[in-house]
């Protein structure tokens, strides 16, 4: 009596449907990528299935609580909720045009993929919109709060459409568990919002009057960083939203490539996307927007190229350009109080590099104590080490051997060698031999005729003692960079074998002495032969100040070293943005077709940067930007926002300069990133890899 198989299957399925509680849809796939982002961001759309009334009550409770503070984000979260109309908004009979039909069909099949059996019952859903906005953002008015709601209306409408009964076969879902897929509008919304949230997060740090952020790590010790460096802030965020990750990535690349402009690039990309979003809502296809953006970016770049100043030939002027750039870079940082001092330091340091971009050669030593003004650039080289006991504290006309060799227990390197002895005397003998070996080595080293020996690895007591006996200064455990720099400074080679003392190049310097900075003793090499490397000693009130000062100085050094290679400079203070915006606006007027909207939007996004700078300084941005725009109407105008005096001023007079390379990189990579995010119409998130060691 073989029962008809299909019936049985059907029956079984019915039973399952009725009895077993449906696999609760905890996280609907559509919101997966965002909602599990505790630390990150942004806006989650959750759908909750099941009993209508209780959920509604629950949601009422939620909203009564008002905004909740989310510590990990440092932001407020406020749930909104909607209840869809009880009846289905669309009749089941098709009355659409062809494209709408297609759309509907597609939505219907989305459900097929997800295969949630209850989807067909048509029970209403409740949407929670968690919109986290950064409290630090001054620009809440432009936060797309209102607009978001209308988007959701649309979304809800679409979702309701999707709940129409589907008359096709149930299929197994295509993706693995936990993997999720977001399509079309939703995907675009998710990425726009993610990217904008990140941009808003760093927005308030832009410009000379930008504010800092406190970053607290979740790791052990909860170490705290205070910074307004965009790349540092973004690097420390745990971000789950893929579009936001793109922005973090461009900021990181900006940091690696030119060193400065890490905030601007993110803010510009965010503004481009914000403008793009408006265009998308007014039914302009993303591809059209991209085409417009490309034209605009090209035009903006040309506009900058037309206005660059190049003083490569005139060394004096070039140096003053560099000074101005350094000051402009530093004025947005913690060092702004002493920017002349630090700018001088940075320019000197970079000139010593002689065109190389290897910033490793500039050593930055941080010593708490004193004030920032006490920081100084040292012509020689400072090694943060102590001189061994009993060794000379001061050596004139030093001959230095820089080495990388084991001075602890010089093992036999032949594989598998081990000591096997049968009596104590032999142990003693071998120990003696080992000592002898070390002694030999020390003798060989001494044979170089040196009076200073710097080793990368440890030096044990025994050889140290030998060195002390010979009156040689032995410094152990200089880290690798220290060794390399020392090699660069003194002109010695880094040695590991000591058999031919005559041919090893030794380093030379006039004087080695121990110096005190604050409470610490350091070794100072002065009168070095090759001046490629140098040391900057930073002094400051606390570690946080020093860390931030180091980052700021690093930014300045990066920009300067890049500018030495590419000597084109521009004016600062929002001037380049206005120049670009003006050209782009003109292009928009000349361009026929829908693209011109996108080009116009690009110019608006550019203007957003001076606006933000003014906003952050607490100035009347609308007034200032309007004034600036009027000023720029005349050809060859040098007007920009002078944040210090709070008015529009001549940037050339004020000496506010920026490197062309930085501006170009900001423009191009922000456009590239915006383009990339705009092109996305679907987000597929894989299930997170399961961790074995998790509880």
């Amino acid at each position: 009596m073989a029962p008809p198989p299909t019936d049985l299957v059907d029956q079984l399925r019915h039973e399952i449907d009725e009895e077993a509680p449906l696999p609760a849809i905890v996280l609907p796939p559509a919101s997966g990528s965002l909602s599990n982002s505790a630390a990150s961001v942004v806006n989650t759309v959750e759908e909750e299935e099941g009993d209508n009334e209780t959920d509604e009550e629950a949601s009422d409770d939620d909203s009564d609580k008002g905004p909740t503070f989310i510590r990990s984000l440092g932001a407020w979260s406020k749930p909104l909720h909607f209840t869809p109309p009880p009846t289905l908004p669309e009749p089941a009979t098709p009355r659409f045009g062809v494209t709408e039909m297609l759309q509907k069909k597609r939505i219907g099949s989305e459900i097929e993929i997800k295969n949630h059996p209850t989807e067909t019952q048509g029970s209403p859903k409740i949407y929670f919109v968690h919109f986290y906005y950064s409290t630090t953002s001054l620009d809440t008015s432009s936060s797309p709060f209102q607009r978001r709601i209308s988007d959701l209306g649309d979304l809800r409408h679409r979702a309701a459409l999707s709940r129409l009964p589907i008359l096709s076969m149930p299929i197994d879902k295509i993706f693995k568990d936990d993997a999720s897929e977001e399509k079309g509008e939703r995907a675009r919304m998710a990425s726009f919002i993610g990217a904008m949230a990140v941009a808003d997060l760093v927005k308030s740090t832009l410009g000379p009057k930008g504010m800092d952020k406190i970053l607290q790590s979740t790791g052990r010790g909860h170490s705290v960083t205070v910074t307004n460096d965009g790349a540092t802030i973004l690097k420390s965020l745990h971000i789950d939203n893929p579009a936001a990750k793109v922005l973090v990535d461009i900021s990181k690349v900006q940091d690696d490539e030119v060193g400065d402009g890490t905030t601007s690039v993110v803010v510009l990309a965010g503004e481009l996307l914000r403008e793009a979003e408006k265009l998308v809502t007014s039914k302009i296809h993303p591809m059209t927007i991209i085409a417009g953006y490309r034209m605009a970016a090209e035009c903006a770049r040309d506009a900058l190229l037309k206005r660059v100043i190049d003083n490569k030939e005139n060394a004096e002027k070039f140096r003053s350009d560099l000074m101005k750039i350094a000051m402009t870079t530093l004025c947005s940082k913690i060092l702004s109080q002493d920017k002349e001092h630090f700018a001088e330091m940075a320019v000197d340091a970079v000139f010593r590099l002689k065109g190389s971009t290897n910033l490793e050669a500039i050593q930055i030593i941080k010593k708490p104590g004193g004030s920032l003004r006490d920081s100084f650039l040292d012509e020689g080289f400072i090694l943060d080490k102590k001189i061994g006991i009993g060794q000379p504290k001061r050596i004139e006309n030093a001959k230095i051997l820089v080495a990388n060799t084991a001075m602890d227990t010089d093992k036999v390197k032949i594989y598998g060698a081990r000591v096997r002895v049968d009596s104590m005397t032999k142990v003693a003998q071998i120990e003696g031999a080992e000592k002898e070996k070390m002694k030999d080595k020390v003798n060989k080293i001494l044979a170089h005729g040196i009076n200073c020996f710097v080793n990368r690895q440890l030096i044990y007591n025994f050889p140290e003692e030998l060195f002390a006996d010979a009156g040689v200064l032995a410094i152990e455990h200089a880290d690798f960079e220290g060794i390399e720099r020392l090699g660069l400074v003194t002109g010695g080679e880094i040695a590991s074998t000591f058999d031919n003392p005559e041919s090893v190049k030794l380093g030379h310097c006039k004087l080695i002495e121990e110096i005190m900075i604050g409470e610490d003793k350091l070794i100072h090499f002065s009168g070095v032969e090759m001046g490629q490397a140098c040391s900057i000693v930073l002094r400051g009130a606390s570690h946080h100040v020093l860390d931030e000062a180091e980052r700021s100085l690093h930014d300045a050094l990066c920009v300067l070293s890049q500018t030495v290679n590419d000597s084109r400079v521009l004016l600062g203070g929002g001037w380049p943005e206005m120049v670009m915006a003006k050209e782009v606006d003109e292009l928009a007027r000349k361009t026929a077709g829908k693209k011109s909207h996108a080009i116009e939007a690009f110019s608006r996004a550019l203007v957003a940067i001076p606006t933000t700078i003014a906003d952050n300084a607490g100035l009347d941005s609308a007034e200032l930007v309007a004034q600036l725009r009027a000023e720029h109407h005349t050809e060859g105008c040098n007007a920009g926002i002078d944040v210090i005096s709070g008015a529009v001023g001549d940037m050339e007079e004020r000496g506010i300069y920026e490197a062309f390379k930085v501006k170009q990189a900001v423009l191009l990579s922000a456009t590239e990133a915006a383009e990339m995010i705009l092109r996305v119409d679907e987000i597929i998130t894989c299930a997170p890899r399961r961790r074995e060691d998790r509880m």
């Binding site: 993706f175 568990d177 290897n358 390197k413 597929i684 894989c686």
Partner: protein, 535 residues
């Protein structure tokens, strides 16, 4: 489920733990499979063509990929369904075989499945549908052959090749500088191509990327680029006329493969061992020096002492070079890979005109350029771009372009793109359908209709009215009997794909149709799906 009983009325258990399994049979199984296949195709549909959109894929470790390359999307999609996996395979095999058209093949298969579903609803047996498809695909492939055109190019006149590569690149995010990238791709392929045998070994083209700079800075290097720097910071950064020793043995004390122990029990032994050790390094370096090498490239690490000795003897060295790079260097410089110091001879050294180190950006990142090699048959495409995802996507795009150029060198026939070939095939198949008596006729017509879905998707993605545009182009083709009319995706103003210079390779198109048909046939033949019902 299937239950069988023996003569005593006891049930046999045929499937183990069958109550935990679900089973779909007959037409249900086919429909479920078709639905799954369609779902995959639908994901890719919007990525087709020059105005296709990208997909953002978030991997299991949170890494983000943005691409519109069909094969990549499917590969990273974390697919669980068996049929969907078949589609993934389909795209992958197109990628291996042709390298381009990975999206198109899936869209095509999806369309075929959709049409098949309709035929099944009519009550036509799946096998008959499959057979009809088979016949139709043969017709289509033959027709493609007929409408294909030979086009001529040679090493000096590679403009046509560049045009074809541009068609491929225009659908990618890199289309901003498709011209320069296409030129790079074509030059790279021509550099390594064996035009006599009409063969191209793409392994000889290395694609290297580094974030930073712009896309415009992407360059073709006639030589090898190694992401390494000199082992000792003070070695010379530039070597002219380098004689390169390529080693796969470490500059370290020897480690015999067999397990052994060296026992030290007397002071003398300790001393001898110590001496020997020093000698080892000395000999190693001496051997390299003796054969006249001026640069050592080694797969393994160096001992500190050996490193200094090398530096001391003025023998620049690079360590930890990967196996693939090592091979490429060997090919490019005409050297031999030497596994033991004893086997070093002057003949085995590779030669390069210039080896130099170049640093990038503000971080300490350096790369080694090996240029003007003895045998220039290995080239590197060095990609720069604003961010990591951009670089990855550019790599994939360049790969596609390289594949297209290679296919053209193998087979000079081209067909016209922009859906023109599909429309022509569709017309041919439709006309052929009437000649077949029997049920297959319907399947063949369905095939013709499925072929239309590719230009339809193109039109849709370009923001045109799909049905209007398609019917207009179709009637134009039929009226003038010219198979060059396609969808005007870029809004240039003409439907003539010859004017727009939109080509695709004949073998690529043929392969698309054949592969898609094969997979669809396979899916149609499945009539029983047994799976664990854990969800």
């Amino acid at each position: 489920m299937a239950l069988a009983f023996d003569e005593f009325g006891r049930p046999f258990i045929i499937l183990r733990e069958q109550d935990q399994k679900t089973r779909l049979r007959g037409i249900d199984a086919q429909k479920a499979n078709i639905a799954a296949g369609k779902a995959v195709a639908r994901i890719l549909r919007s990525s087709l063509g020059p105005k296709g959109m990208d997909k953002m894929l978030q991997g299991p470790d949170g890494d983000v990929t943005i691409t519109n390359d069909g094969a990549t999307i499917l590969e990273q999609m974390d697919v669980d369904n068996q049929i969907a996996k078949l589609m993934v395979e389909l795209s992958r095999s197109q990628d291996y075989e042709i390298g381009d058209g990975t999206t198109g093949v899936v869209v095509m298969a999806g369309a075929l499945l959709e049409q098949a579903e309709r035929q099944l609803d009519r009550g036509i047996h799946p096998i008959r549908v499959a057979e009809g498809y088979e016949m139709a695909s043969r017709v289509a492939v033959e027709h493609l052959e007929r409408i294909s055109q030979k086009f001529e190019f040679d090493v000096n006149n590679f403009e046509p090749l560049v045009q074809t590569c541009m068609t491929t690149l225009s659908s990618k995010i890199v289309n901003r500088c498709k011209r320069s990238l296409a030129e790079i791709a074509v030059k790279a392929v021509l550099a390594v191509a064996d035009l006599e045998r009409r063969d191209v070994n793409l392994d000889l083209i290395k694609i290297e990327g580094k974030v930073g700079g712009n896309l415009e800075d992407t360059e073709l290097i006639y030589g090898i680029l190694v992401d390494k720097d000199m082992s000792h910071p003070q070695m010379p950064k530039q070597i002219e006329d380098a004689h390169i020793a390529i080693l796969t043995c470490p500059f370290e004390p020897p480690k015999p493969k067999t397990k052994h122990k060296v026992d030290i029990d007397t002071v003398e032994k300790f001393e001898t061992l110590r001496k020997q050790e020093q000698q080892y390094f000395d000999e190693m370096v001496q051997k390299c020096k003796d054969v006249g090498a001026t640069l050592v490239i080694c797969q393994w690490g160096f001992d500190d002492e050996a490193n200094h000795l090398l530096m001391h003897r003025n023998l620049p060295a690079v360590r930890w070079v990967g196996g693939v790079e090592l091979e490429l260097i060997a090919i490019a410089t005409g050297g031999r890979i030497v596994p033991r110091f004893q086997e070093l001879t002057p003949e085995k050294l590779g030669k390069a005109g210039m080896v130099r180190e170049k640093s990038f950006g503000t971080t300490k990142e350096r790369m080694l350029y090996i240029e003007h090699c003895a045998n220039s048959k290995a080239v590197t495409i060095f990609i720069r771009g604003g961010n990591k995802m951009m670089i990855e996507e550019t790599k994939r795009s360049i790969h596609d372009a390289l594949c297209v150029a290679r296919n053209l060198i193998r087979n000079k026939s081209i067909v016209y793109g922009g859906g023109a070939a599909e429309i022509a095939c569709s017309l041919a198949v439709d006309a052929a359908a009437d000649k077949y008596p029997g049920v297959e006729q319907y399947a063949i017509r369905a095939f013709a209709e499925a072929l239309d879905s590719v230009p339809m998707a193109l039109a849709e993605n370009s923001g045109l009215q799909p049905i209007e545009t398609l019917s207009a182009v179709k009637s134009q083709q039929l009226k003038e009997n010219i198979p060059f009319y396609g969808i005007d995706c870029n809004d240039v103003g003409t439907n003539d794909m010859r004017e727009q210079n939109v080509f695709e390779t004949l073998i690529g198109k043929q392969q698309q149709i054949l592969l898609a048909t094969q997979v669809v046939k396979m899916i149609l033949k499945i009539d029983d799906v047994i799976s664990n019902s854990e969800y």
